[in-house]
Symmetry: C3
């Protein structure tokens, strides 16, 4: 638990890029930590969608250098009394509101993790607005952590009861979301594929074979593939599965196993 911050801060928000909000948040980070290096993880979480936020944040696990501070601001409770959390796990520090958005980064096994509730009053920040804690609280806190101004334990008391989000396992056999290519992300993991012997997925009345790469089927043909998240996705080689199949978030799936096929 002595990992030092490395000066890198990633940002995940539902702010979009049509307003100056992300830019202003970066200005706040740089005021508190002028040498911080900021990387946009993504700003296209659907507005107030904590579940997709948690999924996107979890996609950063293992992808950034140890000591990176990952800040997630998907915060429908802004201005109310929800807590601000900092988690140490997966060699990184994760900062966000206590609403489940940090859910996905907690290790499922017994690897170490520690959750602390940030003692905001103790940090001496100016009085925040009631609508933009990303700028007024989260950015300064992430910056101060990344700068090493406060050690992890000095940020506030350890807690054991963070708000739990719905984990991807509880999604069941449904489409989680479509990505920008129209690929349909599911919650089916690589482990389940091998343990259950999954050979195909049924969606929208269509049975699509589990392949190793998009190019294994003809252009225009649907397939399932283990994607870079380690999850099964349904795609159309060279096409857009979401629009072509008319499938969207939450639609039901079925799995076909070796025995059945």
């Amino acid at each position: 638990m002595d990992r030092q911050p490395n000066g890198m801060i990633t940002l995940l928000t539902d702010f979009g890029l049509s307003d100056p909000y992300v830019g202003i948040m970066k200005g706040a980070i740089k005021r508190y930590h002028p040498r911080a290096e900021i990387i946009d993880l993504c700003h296209a979480v659907p507005a107030q969608n904590v579940e997709i936020g948690a999924f996107f944040l979890a996609s950063a696990v293992g992808q950034f250098s140890p000591g990176t501070v990952h800040l997630a601001v998907v915060d429908p409770g802004v201005g109310m009394d929800r807590r601000m959390l900092v988690i140490y796990c997966q060699d990184c520090l994760w900062v966000g509101p206590d609403n489940g958005v940090l859910e996905g980064v907690l290790p499922a096994d017994d690897r170490p993790s520690e959750v602390r509730c940030v003692d905001i009053d103790g940090l001496g920040l100016p009085v925040p607005s009631n609508t933009f804690h990303g700028r007024d609280l989260f950015a300064p806190v992430a910056a101060m952590i990344s700068r090493g101004q406060y050690g992890f334990r000095a940020l506030g008391p350890r807690i054991e009861d963070p708000v739990r989000g719905r984990s991807i396992k509880e999604l069941g056999l449904r489409v989680l979301c479509a990505d920008g290519f129209g690929n349909l992300i599911t919650g089916i993991t690589a482990r389940e594929v091998s343990e259950l012997g999954i050979t195909a997925i049924e969606v929208a009345g269509l049975r699509v074979p589990l392949c190793s790469a998009y190019g294994e089927v003809e252009v225009g043909t649907a397939l399932a593939v283990l994607n870079s998240y380690g999850l099964v996705e349904i795609a159309i080689n060279g096409g857009n599965a979401a629009s072509s199949l008319g499938v969207s978030d939450g639609d039901l799936l079925e799995v076909v196993t070796e025995e059945e096929s």
Copy 2:
């Protein structure tokens, strides 16, 4: 007026992100100032919309470290003979075309500000294209300023007649714009709220109460709130006011004060 540039340059444009224009402009900045640190303020100003550009640029006042160079390229007059301005005020340097886009950063009170017209011919830049001064003139000038290659006074003569844009005060009781969340930004300031005793806003036939935070009303309910710009906005808790209320830029508002309510 001796504030040194800090090496940070923010960019505000109407270029969008669907083309390489922003990336190319950054390449130009880095050629003239290899150690510049570039932060995107926003690139989603509606095409050629100087008024929204001025509003977005003003949102950066006070949000970045002193010495930041803020470059705004919303430039419908590109290739014609409009001037290029540099303003020193609010502890920062502001660069843009002389068309009103810099309007919002000039202090309303008597805090110091100084406007200079950049003597482009004196800077020895290559002949520019007629369509992309962001790349050919603005980026190099912002880079040279940020690098300290030219002091503020050496950039060109002081002027007193910058083109004035329509200030947010002249907007009257109208919706300025909707942000990415569908929140409706108005020109009503915190000062007006307290001086007039505003307690609610009427929009689209609906009276919405002025609250302190989104979460003070039920999810799905409309409210007004002082936002992080210091302006009243109309929102729906957990929802999208612009689409739900069918309200858009320029639509009329009314204020309800303590006496009336």
Copy 3:
């Protein structure tokens, strides 16, 4: 051919910004080259559109400092056996899949260029996923090149048969694409304008005059202009030519020359 990398890496992809893919790719770059400076060229190449990718990449020629590594990931063949190329030309290094996306940066004349096929097995990278070589192969390779970990010649054997894309010259008299302003980009070059004496363009039954700047015609009027790519584009001053004229990618054009007009 001894140009040293300068630590800057630009990214061009068709990933869009609605997912964490670009952010994750940056994490991978920083793991292999912590001091790399990453600039987004553009992430809005239409999905799997190698031709537009090649056009956008070519727009970076001459715009970045010598020694910049330009990474282009528009990769419909991901997971199959297409090669990975590195090209040295135009004072920069260009990395991408061997599918034509690097086509546009090769000099048309006899200026030096050298194409090498990256020997991926020789680099000791972990086994990649089959769906995200941007993260697993291209980002690490670009990072290692930019860091100077491998010299250009050590990356793999020289080849003479890169996959050739359709060059912009083969486009003929058609609209290449519309940019975010709705300006219609054509493949007609500055050289052709002067050699043929082009004075106007005909599109959608309309003859639009070749002007020097948008502002030379009234607001709302169509014109043609040599744009910052060095190509003729058709625009509407203060408007959106694509939507107003109802013209889109691939639509036919005609040129009007001095003799005819």
